[in-house]
């Protein structure tokens, strides 16, 4: 199963850099990069923090890919 996300698009919509978002949620930029790239699945706590900063719900920001739903 793979978790995809739309962080990059919503971050761009708000004109936030990875560094800006990282500072807002209290993590390093590499962490945001790894989550965006799908290399790291964040904890529920971090997922909620990111979603809150981007003004989204967690289920709008993260979703299981089509393959994962089968």
């Amino acid at each position: 199963m793979k978790l995809t996300n739309h962080i990059k698009q919503h971050r761009a919509r708000l004109d936030l850099t990875q560094q800006d978002l990282a500072e807002r949620v209290g993590v390093r930029r590499q962490t945001i990069l790894a989550v965006e790239k799908g290399k790291y699945v964040p904890s529920a706590l971090l997922a909620f923090q990111i979603a809150r900063e981007l003004g989204m719900r967690v289920d709008e920001l993260f979703e299981l890919d089509k393959e994962g739903e089968r």
Binding site: A22, E23, R28, R29, L33
Partner: protein
């Protein structure tokens, strides 16, 4: 709860650790050729801050960094397992050379094993933290710097006799250095190609070392000879393994550089 911001800069303790590590690395090369006892400072630098974090005395890392730190530790532990296994595989050699056992001349002496654990942990952590292209680029530049420092110290400390002995190796070192710098440059631009090139370099090191071993006269199997053979095989595995990790991580990476904003 991650309540404080961790900006682009490293926390101050990591800067202190980096300073201690660099001093330890330089002193280990300057004080004695090869890994000297000063490398202990590198161990302190690499494992000191994580130890404080693991004990909960330092709470400045986020969940992703903790995750890759644990993975790097796991990789180091796997290496230790492989090294112990290789010592067991080499038992036939020790049966034929029981004097090596008496002198505790192991394929992976404990000192080498400890130093390799530090190196594997560090390489694994940095590649995961920076991403393969940027990580390999910086690690190869660091290794090239250590190589130049080693060679320079050898020439400076050894006097004319040692210097004359090292001069024939100058061509080989220049070639090796050229490969490392080319690998570093390509790692961020063409990671797949650089990965294959670095893996080829790892294989070439194995072949060259094997050829060097074949040139040793078997009739002179003294303790010095045994120590040299085991030392060569051990360093070959260590250096070859680091290159294999660097090359393999580049082959697995996606894109030319993972550090986009």
């Amino acid at each position: 709860m991650m309540s404080h911001a961790m900006g682009r800069k490293l926390p101050s303790i990591d800067w202190i650790a980096l300073g201690i590590g660099v001093v330890g690395l330089v002193l280990s090369r300057v004080q004695s050729p090869g890994f000297g006892s000063w490398l202990g400072l590198l161990g302190l630098a690499v494992f000191g801050p994580p130890l404080l974090r693991e004990l909960g005395w330092l709470q400045d890392e986020d969940e992703y960094v903790r995750n890759i730190r644990w993975r790097a530790g796991f990789h180091a532990a796997m290496f230790a397992g492989v090294a112990i296994f290789l010592n067991w595989v080499a038992r036939g050699f020790y049966i034929n050379h029981p004097e090596a056992l008496h002198q505790k001349l192991w394929l992976f002496p404990m000192n080498d094993l400890r130093q390799n654990l530090v190196v594997i942990y560090l390489v694994s952590f940095l590649i995961q933290y920076w991403g393969a292209p940027r990580g390999v680029f910086r690690i190869l530049l660091g290794m090239a710097g250590v190589l130049v420092l080693d060679f320079g110290m050898g020439l400076a400390q050894g006097g004319n006799r040692f210097g004359t002995m090292l001069l024939p190796a100058l061509g080989f070192m220049a070639l090796f250095l050229g490969f490392m710098l080319a690998g570093a440059w390509l790692a961020r631009r063409r990671p797949q190609f650089a990965g294959r090139m670095i893996l080829a370099l790892a294989v070439a090191l194995v072949v060259l070392q094997a050829l060097a071993l074949r040139t040793l006269p078997p009739a002179e199997e003294t303790m010095g000879w045994l120590g040299m053979v085991l030392g060569m095989v051990s360093s070959l595995i260590s250096v070859g393994m680091v290159f294999a990790i660097l090359g393999g991580s580049l082959l697995k990476s996606e894109g030319s550089d993972e550090s986009e904003e």
